[in-house]
Symmetry: C2
């Protein structure tokens, strides 16, 4: 890029930086007053892309033109929260602004919009610009939609994944075998990671699990673990914990792992875009960046899961396997039953309660959560060269039943910083609503999407004790008036929203046993 400091003396200089406390979520926005000399001199318009420089740093931002001098004055350049943080200088610091040269990868973006296949270098250029916040929301959306539409071929998916790994930090655990697990999502209550990590770590494999917070679900693993312990750990602390305990359960957001992924998700989410290529690149890039060498991937199928049929699941599996192989990641895909939520609780505290019950071998522990976790843990244990195929499950069960998994979890909780959660008396939302069966019948459907939505409206994950406590499972025979699930909330307005959603559709269908949809997966 040219260096306008020398070529355009005086233009856009002489301004001071102002922090504008607006959270524009992943998009850098700059605010200039309409009467500011540089707006006129450079012909800036609303949505122009500008380059803001301060103290040797520079960022690209989308311009919003402001008419209120109380927001920014004619001698100021305002920047949104994210942008301010990237510049790393205090308010009032001298700053300059110029029309931005477009990011160097824009010609490649335009080729993708026009349906062309892109090269490895193209993907590296585009993803690099995205990770450095050089794309506007419009350009980001164009990239995401163009990739969705032209259905990236599998080699392009591997280029994209590789570029996303390269866009950020890559952790190196200095171990030849670093295991991880991931679920493609969509199943409420599915907190198997919090059981698989202590079991597999107790077995002795390195399992540095970093998780996300909920985006559209009622709880992510990081939200639920946060009920038990601190999850926002500096990287050095994380390393110590993994060295001492072979595992951790932390939030991945501070580690700069595949940062382009976070930016892309900011536009994929509102468009409900979750094409196979984008899903594979997102998941595998995060795992590669986290330093995993062996990954077990859970693909649930069911009528309200992300994947609805076995052929679809197999096609997705093959794409994951192709890309993993290109990136030298050992991958084991497990297709699971996704017809209903896993466990009883949906919401951070409710799920933490279920997890602790399983670890304590409590008779009230949800059997499905226990069973699924043992199965996944067994597959991971089989990554170990001295375990034969088929032996893993029994090893995992022994570790769980002997209490070694519980001890390991307690050690990890203590190391991360315990929050003193009492799962025997969990602090659940005090406002409750019990949802009864309208008629006698057999439970033939539990809608993952609707139950998740109800838990979310009730306050989860922000309100830790909020959510849904499921009191029935597929195939149960219920009587009219019997409670199907209980909603917990802290605030009357939250409970009101949840009740309103229940009134539209409670999420549970009754009928006869023959109507239960079947899925045929390995158990």
């Amino acid at each position: 890029m040219e260096t306008p400091e020398t070529t355009t003396p005086g233009a856009g200089a002489g301004l001071t930086l102002r922090r504008v406390a607006i959270d524009t979520w992943r998009e850098n926005v700059a605010y200039l007053h309409r009467d500011c000399a540089v707006v006129r001199a450079e012909g800036f318009q609303a949505l122009s892309k500008v380059e803001v420089r301060a103290n040797g740093r520079s960022i690209l931002a989308t311009l919003n033109v402001v008419d209120d001098p109380a927001l920014v004055g004619c001698q100021q350049i305002g920047v949104s929260e994210d942008a301010f943080a990237q510049l790393e200088v205090p308010e009032g610091h001298p700053a300059s602004v110029t029309q931005a040269e477009p990011p160097a990868s824009i010609p490649a973006l335009f080729r993708k919009i026009n349906g062309e296949r892109l090269s490895r270098d193209d993907f590296h250029a585009i993803v690099g610009d995205i990770a450095r916040h050089r794309y506007s929301k419009i350009e980001l959306t164009a990239f995401v939609v163009a990739c969705n539409r032209s259905e990236l071929d599998r080699e392009e998916v591997s280029f994209l994944t590789e570029a996303m790994v390269a866009s950020g930090r890559r952790l190196d655990w200095r171990e030849s075998l670093v295991v991880d697990k991931h679920c493609i999502g969509g199943i409420p209550g599915n907190r198997t990671s919090m059981l698989v990590v202590p079991i597999v770590a107790a077995y002795g494999l390195v399992f540095p699990k970093t998780s996300s917070r909920a985006i559209t679900s009622p709880a992510g693993t990081a939200d639920t673990m946060e009920v038990l312990a601190n999850v926002e750990l500096p990287f050095d602390r994380l390393t110590d914990i993994v060295r001492d305990h072979r595992g951790c359960l932390a939030w991945g957001g501070t580690a700069d792992l595949s940062p382009a992924d976070d930016v892309l998700i900011s536009v994929e989410r509102p468009l409900a875009l979750d094409s196979p290529g984008q899903m594979v690149a997102s998941i595998l890039s995060k795992k590669m960046a986290a330093g995993a060498t062996h990954l077990v991937l859970d693909i649930p199928i069911g009528p309200t899961a992300k994947v609805r049929s076995m052929p679809e699941a197999q096609k997705l599996r093959r794409l994951f396997e192709y890309v993993a192989q290109r990136l030298h990641l050992s991958l084991d895909v497990v297709i699971t039953d996704g017809r209903q939520p896993v466990g009883r609780g949906i919401g951070p505290a409710l799920e933490a309660r279920d997890v602790m019950r399983v670890l304590e071998n409590d008779p009230e522990a949800p059997a499905d959560l226990r069973q699924k976790s043992l199965r996944l843990a067994g597959r991971l244990i089989e990554c170990s060269p001295d375990v034969r195929g088929g032996q893993g499950y029994a090893i995992a069960r022994d570790i769980l039943e002997s209490g070694r998994a519980l001890s390991r979890m307690q050690a990890i909780i203590a190391a991360q910083g315990s929050h003193g959660f009492d799962h025997h008396h969990p602090a659940l939302g005090a406002l409750t609503l019990e949802v009864p069966a309208a008629t006698d019948g057999v439970v033939i459907g539990i809608d993952n999407l609707q139950i998740a939505q109800i838990a979310r409206l009730a306050g989860a994950p922000k309100v830790k004790g909020a959510g849904v406590d499921l009191l029935c499972r597929l195939g149960d025979t219920v009587r009219a008036g019997q409670v199907l699930y209980r909603i917990h909330a802290d605030y009357p307005s939250d409970l009101h929203f949840a009740r309103h959603a229940v009134d539209r559709h409670c999420g549970i269908s009754l009928g006869t046993a023959a109507q239960i949809p079947q899925v045929f997966v390995e158990s």
Copy 2:
């Protein structure tokens, strides 16, 4: 949509409206404080889509979460300039905000993203939501990119055009023959409308010309006409002028003609998207909405024009003709020479000077502008049932040479409100820069894009007297040091930017006569 006033009492109510003086250009943005009760209660996040209600009106907006109480307090809902105008209530008015139901057309949008063909109803639903500002920038971009990529078939283009016409007002001039002309753009100085309107109106056809202001060019017809007269006229006034004088030259922006087009352009422009389908829908919808029954369309071709070859021009012509026929618009496409700017002046006052010289039959009038205008006027005159094919040109020339076109223009200027422009002594930018030929040679190329950019940097169209005065034409033999063009500017910084652009590439190439690119168009 549901009516949350009754279903969600108390939620998001009790707020007062605050105007946030930020120009977000076609996107409604709402600003809520992070600690505002409704942000917590509804789980709002940055970029959530919200519905803001005040006094029975409601708008959709994208949410920006704010941390500074000086911007919006916890009891306020801030809205950007555009959004504030749509609500039509004063600041401080009670307002409520709720999570917005997604626009009803979103499922159709998702189908288009996935490459499906859409129906007439789908296009009406999508375009209606777009015109009512119900789409976020992300959704808009997704629509535009999906339409670009899947290359709308020609019937879809006609559905899109029809829906865009229906999205706004449609003028009815109560005449069986209402003529209009349009150029697809890209040629600086091409102000033929300002000659064609007075000629054709003097002949007696109704020609209610509404034009745009410049978006990326140094002057739109509305900008240039504004040098001579007021162009922002209320619709009733416009009707009177057209009744009295058979023509007008006004800005179309106030008339609510194809409002969806304006919104779509806001994302097409930064992506440099100008696919044939989008161009056809944009142009024809505006003309249909303006009430035209007969349209002459100018498609210039040349190495730096929008259309670069005759086959490309013919393909575009056929698409225009198909859609026009479906919409019952009589269309006559004229393919013209677009190898260089038309006329001498580029910039509002410079172009107004050229136009008035042609109307006065001044020997200094640019011959190319005169010739092209007569040709287009002739084609329009031939729309009249009593004119034979081939007679139009001579009729137009007689009207121009007899001074009747000048009289009609003076009458229109007086009716719209004269600005007293003296074209014998036009107020051009006092700061000038003359750009000389570096060597002897023949002018073999004049780059439309670079000359337009230089005129824009010099201040056009905001600074009326700024721009470029071209002193050479393709094929001219020049000597080293001879002035090729003169730049006019009002401000030193503008002249500096223009000079900087000239230093990179002056826009004029010299060589030998044999190197002049040829285009073969009807003259």
